[in-house]
Structure formats: structure tokens, C-alpha cells
Subunit: 192 residues, 2 copies
DNA sequence: CTCCAAAAATGACCGTGGTCAATTTATAAG
DNA sequence: CTTATAAATTGACCACGGTCATTTTTGGAG
């Protein structure tokens, strides 16, 4: 039983990814067609699916990479201590997640791994989100009656709610960041 | 400029809907194929798309109807007063929403109307959810420092979070209802 | 009844994601 | 260098949602 991976494989895969990134650069994630990618990469269609389970798998990888970069950026900054500061600190992540409706939908769809064996970059980012925020909350001026982890899960829930409403015509009145701040203030620092 | 609607139209539409419901009855929402529906209804494929903008439009209608029925049922019951009672009262709605992954995804996708002119039954149900819960909260034993509407939006956010995690292999430990109760208790009756 | 314009239905056709048996290419062993 | 075998690639093909020019049906006017 051989399991050698030929150099060719890595080259082809790299060409496919680069081609996909070019296509996305020009027209956004939503407009990507597998045909365009394989033509730009100079390979046959079947080759694409030998490298990626399906189109979504490529998208999960590419969007996941960008998302990871957003997290890296956010983790560079210093820890925020109040609800508005937290909302502000998370802004780069939320901005990318809502940059395209397609991107938001895909991220939500892949936010939970269906099986342990297929935990992808996006599902990992959702765990990282909770850990990151929970870390901040340990030393932040917030309620202490429940665990930082639970508080952080709530922050995530409110962020998703706020992002959903951003795409909703019924709730155009408030801006995304205003809404999130209101939620987080009520969740993290309740008055009664 | 005539705009008469022939009787035929209503009949064909009814046949399509009945056929779709039969197909769903047998194999669930996810497995529905337009080909199967038109064949069962005894019409051509083009006819389907003369009656429904696309497959999703039919799905939104059918799932929306079932969702409305769930709300009607929940509204029959008496108003709950505590966090666990609220979670319990909403159970029929949450149960249907998570009955199939496909159903949950479609509901989330249609929960926000993209344009005012196309507010569908599902988007309307999301508004109804907030109004329903806000009504309960007015007389419930919960924090009073923020408005019932905002509190209700939070309940919705936590419910969606809990439902998402139900489909996630990383969070199988806790059951859906346990998780929702923990969230709602922390959100509605904070200790500090 | 006949006639005709609008409404409805039709089905061949298209776009795009995805499959798979057949072919080509890389590499290790002799 | 050959040869055997597994890995990689190919492209014709399929499934399914969706379109649209053409045909059929309806129902009111004369």
C-alpha cells in the first residue's frame, strides 16, 4: 500500500487555489463558477473535484483562511474592557462575515461541524471566537454571576443576530454596530 | 388590459401544492425534486415556474405554513412566566424548525426579508416570535431594566444559537432544551 | 354560435455542480 | 533502462434547477 503524494498534486492544487482567488478578487465569492476556476488553472473539471470534495469545500477553505486572518488581526490588539469596546474590537471579524450575503450564509452553514472528523476552519473559528471573548471577559467590567464561557457564547449569539438583521429590510433603522452595542450592554452589564 | 385569472390556474396551483406535500410527506423537505412534483401533478416543468418564482419560493410557502401552524398552537396555551416555562412554551416552534437541517437552513435564510416588497411568511413569523415573547415578558418574572421587545429579541438570538448547536457535533454534550434554559435564565433573570 | 386576444401550459433547451470509466503520468523495484 | 502499479488527470456524461419561444386553452364580445 503506497501513499506517496506526487509533487504534481501540490502544484495543481496551488494553481486551482490561485485561480479561485483571482476569480474571487474580480467578482466576489458569490459569482465564482467551477468552470471559470478550472479554465483559469488550465485543468479539467474532474481534477477540481479530485482536489476538493465539492465547491463548498473550496469556499470553506478560502473563506476560512480570510476569517482566520481577521482573528489574528483582532488578537493583536489589546483586550477591551467594556461592552462598546468589545463590539469595536470584534469589528474586523464582523465586517468580513457580512461583506457578502453569500459569505455570511456559508459561514453560518459551516459554523457547526456535522461530524467530529470534519471540523473545518470555520467551525474552528467559532470556537476561537468564544475563547477569545471569554478571555477578554475574565478581566472586563462585566457581570460575574455566570462563567466567561457562557457570557462569550451569548456575545456570539447577539453578534449573529445583529449580522442577520443587517441583511433584513425590516430592520434598516439601526446600524449593525449600534444594535450590537445595545445587545451587549444589556447582556454583559445588566442593571437589575 | 384584462387581468382575469382563469379557474384552471387555481386548480393547477392546488394540484402542484398537493403533489409537493405528498412528496414531502414521503421523503421530507430536503429530498423534494421539482421533476417529481410536476410529474405527480401531471403538468410540465415550465408550469411549475409559472406558479412559483423558484423551488425556494414553494418551500418558503410550505414551511411557512407549517411554522404559522406552530405559532397558532403555541398562542393557544397560557402565557409562561419563568425562563424554563418560556423555553417549554416555545418548544413546538423550535421542534419544527430543527426537524430537518434543510428546514432550519431555509428558515434562517428567509428569516430576514431582503426587500420590503417581498416579506414572506417566514420573515413574518420572526416578527411574530418577538411580539409573542415580548407579550409574555410584560407580565413575567424577569428583569425590567430593558424593554420587553429587546428582551424578546435576545430570546430569539439564544434560541437560534441553541438550534445551531443542535446540528453541531462539537456540542453534543448538552441537549437543546437544557442549553436554551441556561441561556434564558442568564438573560432574563440575571443575579448581578 | 364564431372569432380573437389574453392567459396558461408546454417541453426542448441551457447553466452549473458533480461523477466516473478510461487514459496518462510519476515513481519505485528489478 | 524497463516494467509494474498506484496516483493523477481527463472529458464525456448525468442530475437538477430554471428559461422561453411556441402552442393550446379560455372566456368575453359581436
Amino acid at each position: 500500500m503506497q501513499k506517496t503524494v506526487q509533487k504534481r498534486t501540490l502544484k495543481t492544487r496551488a494553481r486551482l487555489i490561485e485561480a479561485a482567488e483571482d476569480v474571487i478578487e474580480r467578482n466576489g465569492y458569490q459569482a465564482l463558477r467551477v468552470e471559470d476556476v478550472v479554465q483559469a488553472a488550465g485543468v479539467a473539471k474532474g481534477t477540481f473535484f479530485a482536489h476538493f470534495r465539492d465547491k463548498d469545500a473550496l469556499m470553506e477553505m478560502l473563506i476560512g483562511e480570510r476569517l482566520v486572518a481577521c482573528f489574528d488581526q483582532v488578537e493583536q490588539g489589546s483586550a477591551p474592557h467594556t461592552a462598546p469596546e468589545i463590539a469595536d474590537a470584534l469589528q474586523p471579524i464582523h465586517a468580513f462575515m457580512t461583506s457578502e450575503r453569500y459569505v455570511f450564509d456559508l459561514i453560518i452553514r459551516y459554523s457547526g461541524a456535522t461530524a467530529i472528523t470534519e471540523i473545518g476552519p470555520i467551525a474552528r473559528c467559532f470556537e476561537r471566537y468564544v475563547h477569545l471573548v471569554a478571555g477578554w471577559l475574565e478581566t472586563a467590567k462585566v457581570r460575574k454571576d455566570i462563567s466567561p464561557d457562557l457570557l462569550a457564547e451569548g456575545v456570539q449569539a447577539f453578534a449573529i443576530q445583529s449580522m442577520s438583521l443587517k441583511f433584513c429590510a425590516l430592520h434598516e433603522a439601526e446600524s449593525f454596530s449600534d444594535r450590537l452595542e445595545i445587545y451587549l450592554d444589556a447582556w454583559l452589564t445588566p442593571a437589575a
